[in-house]
Subunit: 159 residues, 2 copies
């Protein structure tokens, strides 16, 4: 079974190289960016401005191979890909929860992104605490890495 | 530009009809379910068991048309599709943050899902509060609907 999608837009960011990037929007190195939605989809942005955060789904177009176990940027052990946010996933869909600063026509001004410039955008969803904020969470192997995301940057392991 | 994905597995749930479903995992009507990952991807599940919650991405295979403005299940006004979680999106990718109860080989036992039985699974990501829990959020038009997700169920408007 094949599932085919088409980009609804493109991400613009200061990050032009997979090396030395922030590894998450909460990294200190993250930077403002733009999600440009193609004009034919702009009507779908109505009512989005009142949300402080959006969930972006995008195609990790520079993920060129699949690896089911990887050594992620945090920690030094090999982990199952579905227990990480690394890009070499069977379906390379990226997800970031980012601050929405302003909607200007078909452009979303975003406060803190960790996304490569030119990345194809697949979907935008409103972030809704009632839906998306589970209580009493435990972050598995990442518990011992808490607080480290801020200073971590990518290297060239997935390039 | 076309982007092609293949399912990594399938969701099993008690929900066999798009009508009368929970509209989110946090709805009272949500129920336990299973994410079955195809055997060839099972190695990717290593280390997932320590996480209390996972983010599921899936193909909304029963979303048969695209509508850029919709009347969602909460509220009565027409909204831009990207300001809702409705299924008639240009790329019908569903997202749920659900409780992970147990990993049993290639099967994830999930505590509370809002997903139609037989839905093709695209990706599994660990839920990580350090990455995924923004502070000081505002939920736009959904602020006035807070607390209503619990009792809301779907009807046949997207069927």
């Amino acid at each position: 079974m094949e599932i085919t999608y088409r980009p609804i837009g493109v991400i613009h960011s200061p990050f032009t190289d997979l090396k030395e990037m922030p590894i998450q929007p909460t990294s200190a190195a993250s930077a403002p960016g733009i999600a440009e939605v193609f004009p034919e989809f702009a009507d779908g942005l109505k009512d989005l401005e009142g949300f402080s955060h959006v969930i972006l789904l995008y195609h990790l177009h520079q993920a060129l191979w699949v690896e089911l176990t990887v050594t992620p940027f945090l920690g030094s052990a090999k982990r199952g890909i579905f227990a990480t946010r690394a890009p070499t996933r069977p379906n390379p869909i990226g997800l970031s929860i980012v601050q929405l600063l302003r909607v200007d026509g078909n452009r979303l001004e975003l406060g803190n992104i960790d996304i490569l410039d030119g990345t194809p955008l697949l979907d935008i969803k409103p972030y809704v605490p009632d839906f998306d904020r589970p209580k009493k969470t435990r972050a598995g192997w990442l518990e011992s890495e808490r607080g480290k995301v801020k200073d971590a940057r990518s290297d060239d392991r997935f390039r």
